[in-house]
Symmetry: C2
């Protein structure tokens, strides 16, 4: 009997050709003129699921949004684990269109790479999962675990239909874990599995001084100036070593595990390259007692994103403005509690208020931090699966930014997260000449097959 890996290798070129059919559909979710194409991609995805033997396939419509492709295979029985498989069939616009070497919706393989919009983000990746299931079925006649598919069409537009669907269909989607493959290896040859991601508390501070703008010639020295006042507040929220001065801010911060810290060292981050090419400043700024990746992955921080107030056109004008506002976010890490931080933040701001101004703090958004950890059953199964498919243990990384869908999976379904991906850093997501290496596609198929087998053990 052949293995799922044999099946995957033997059927690779057919799999690539079948992926091409989906890549040819310009399912640009941001363009209303492509709404027919977006639906066509949903239907093609559903058809592909049907072809490998999935059941209960249907498009879950959302008012004003794009349909969610659903489908299950529950033949492993109640005693077996259940895995949700996530992906998205929508793509970014192909801009800048003139820089593509081959048309974005006419996929082709050059030098072992599949070039097309969506090749890596995310059609090629969810299709690798699909082909992974096909490989297991091909080798064993069945799957060793139950699966439930959720392939959405609003990922590139930040739509929230999937989050609502998860909230509304908890019983239908009861599962043990979710497998999200929408990312990339941190460097060639090194897979990665996410062990946490920062959350966020986003607020707007408003400072009011005079009831209307006044003239600094007439009242400078006696009128409270909201711009000076907001500067004192912002300056007092974080010290110049990058440490947030909100009392209790760091109390619940959980240090990364030794496994994670060792993983991050394996990434051999080129800090000079990051500074020069990604940030473009002459030095880093932040808590210097922690490493760069530690700070991005696992330290909370506070940044001002915009300040508005007073006269900002050309030339001099001597107004003391009535009002100034600042948008401020705090990136939060496990186990910080956003609501606890919000109250502590408000109290700290109140301490920093200077005479004559009135200050209010308004919450604009909150995303709790997500902790996955390295010890979960599904994460460990994924680690073994990557080892089998790529011959290398994944590194355990985190990410600095929020993702509402991951939070929703955790919040509404209580499932363990396996967040990973088969792309490479040079896949040119959201840019011209997006690609997915055929070898990564094949490895993704095998990783998925191995994951199903490992989860069942």
């Amino acid at each position: 009997m052949s293995t799922s890996f044999d099946y995957a290798s033997a059927n690779l070129s057919r799999s690539v050709n079948e992926l091409f059919e989906i890549l040819r559909i310009p399912s640009i979710s941001a363009s209303p003129e492509h709404s027919v194409d977006v639906r066509a991609a949903a239907e093609a995805t559903a058809a592909a699921l049907r072809k490998i033997g999935m059941e209960h396939i249907h498009l879950a419509e959302s008012k004003g949004g794009h349909p969610l492709v659903r489908g299950d295979w529950l033949g492993a029985g109640d005693g077996a684990p259940t895995l949700i498989l996530y992906g998205h069939y929508d793509v970014q616009p192909p801009d800048p269109i003139e820089e593509w070497l081959s048309p974005p919706f006419e996929p082709e393989v050059r030098e072992g790479r599949i070039y097309a919009r969506g090749a890596s983000d995310d059609k090629g990746q969810f299709f690798a999962i699909l082909k992974g299931l096909e490989a297991v079925i091909g080798a064993q006649g069945r799957l060793p675990v139950n699966v439930k598919w959720t392939i959405e069409g609003e990922e590139e537009t930040g739509g929230s239909s999937l989050e609502r669907y998860l909230a509304d269909n908890r019983d239908e989607l009861r599962a043990d874990a979710v497998f999200v493959a929408d990312g990339h290896f941190p460097k060639p040859g090194v897979p990665a599995v996410l062990t946490g991601l920062r959350g966020m508390l986003y607020v707007e501070i408003e400072v009011r001084g005079p009831s209307a703008d006044v003239h600094s010639g007439l009242y400078g020295g006696v009128a409270p100036n909201p711009l000076n006042a907001i500067a004192w507040i912002i300056a007092g929220l974080k010290d110049t070593n990058g440490r947030v001065t909100v009392p209790g801010f760091y109390d619940r911060v959980v240090d990364p595990s030794q496994t994670e810290l060792e993983s991050w060292n394996q990434l051999d981050l080129d800090e000079g390259q990051m500074l020069r090419e990604e940030i473009g400043s002459r030095a880093f700024f932040g808590e210097s007692e922690y490493g760069t990746l530690h700070r991005i992955y696992a330290r909370p921080t506070l940044d001002v994103h915009g300040i508005r107030g007073g006269f900002i056109s050309t030339g001099p004008k001597t107004v003391i403005p009535a009002v100034a506002t600042a948008k401020v976010s705090m990136r939060l890490v496990p186990d910080q509690d956003p609501l606890e931080i919000r109250e502590a933040f408000k109290n700290r701001v109140a301490e920093l208020v200077t005479p004559g101004v009135e200050v209010s703090v308004r919450e604009l958004g909150v995303d709790p931090p997500i902790s996955v950890g390295v010890d979960g059953r599904a994460v460990q199964a994924a680690a073994r699966a990557f080892m089998r498919a790529f011959g290398r243990q994944p590194v355990f990384v985190r990410t600095g930014g929020g993702n509402p869908v991951l939070g929703a999976f955790q919040q509404y379904l209580g499932v363990e997260l396996i967040v990973s991906g088969f792309g490479l850093p040079d896949d040119h997501l959201h840019s011209a000449n997006e690609k997915l290496d055929v070898a990564q596609f094949e490895g993704g198929i095998k990783t998925t097959a191995a994951l199903l087998e490992e989860l069942a053990d």
Copy 2:
């Protein structure tokens, strides 16, 4: 022989009627559609000067601006003092037009008040000076001092033709003092003479961090944030007691004289009223060890007038911006040197720069502070003149804001400044129902007559 005061009283109603002729001309310098009216007002002013016996009358044209009305009377001879008389024949737009009880350019007297746009600012005031000269000539057949008129038409638009004229015609305008009557009594019955005014240094601070905007999810904690950096800079320029922390900032500050401090106490400033009705904040802010008027008149300060940077539209966005700017002015007092302060400011900013950002300071404007003092011959003559005309010594006030024309008179001509006015605080300048009390108009005529006589003694 009758006195100039007798002449002024006897001819008052004719003087009001002649003023009406000039008030009827809608010489709104800000409106291009009123340029014919502005010129008509200049010509009417010249004609009025001619009528009282002035000589060398002409309109000094300025490219792109409104003409300066010139005219002299030099019959007092080389041994007598020479006084420049300043005024402006242009007016503000009459907005809000619907709130006027009588049409703004159809002057009328109601309850002892002349209502019209320009009644107090400044047609009624320079016309009082003109009638003061007429009164002296009427009583004595000649003036005891030489006079040189400069009545401009760009005061309400901030034009600089007069400044250039002063710079270019120093010999022609050689004089001992200038009399500027474009202000008002601090309260009814209490005249005031200006003894100083604050200057200004206006700069823009630019802070650059990342070479382009970056995402705080990816780089929060390691990328320098120009908005946080500019807040630390601003917060570090002034402490929360309102004291500027630029080293040496206060070194050359001259305390007001005892005469001035006593004058300010006489003003019985209603601080509650200023706070509630003029500023509209719930408390003052500033150096609490100094009185309110002391702070406005004679203390330097620092205010931020605008901050620009990052995302300022509605909602949350997590950008770390590439650049942030702040407009900052320092009000300066005698004997602070703007250029010395500028260098000290730049050095202080450099101390406040945090890692990873680059900061530059650009000068947008500079006006030196002006010191008049209470002891000058002309100011003392003006004090006696007000005593004779209004029966009350003037208080010696300062003003918190700059005025480039006053600086130009001092800088180019080296003359002593007599800066005062005959209006009252409720004259509704720049607003509806502008007025000048007939009694103030008459007092202005007599003050001017007395000033000429006192200057000659």
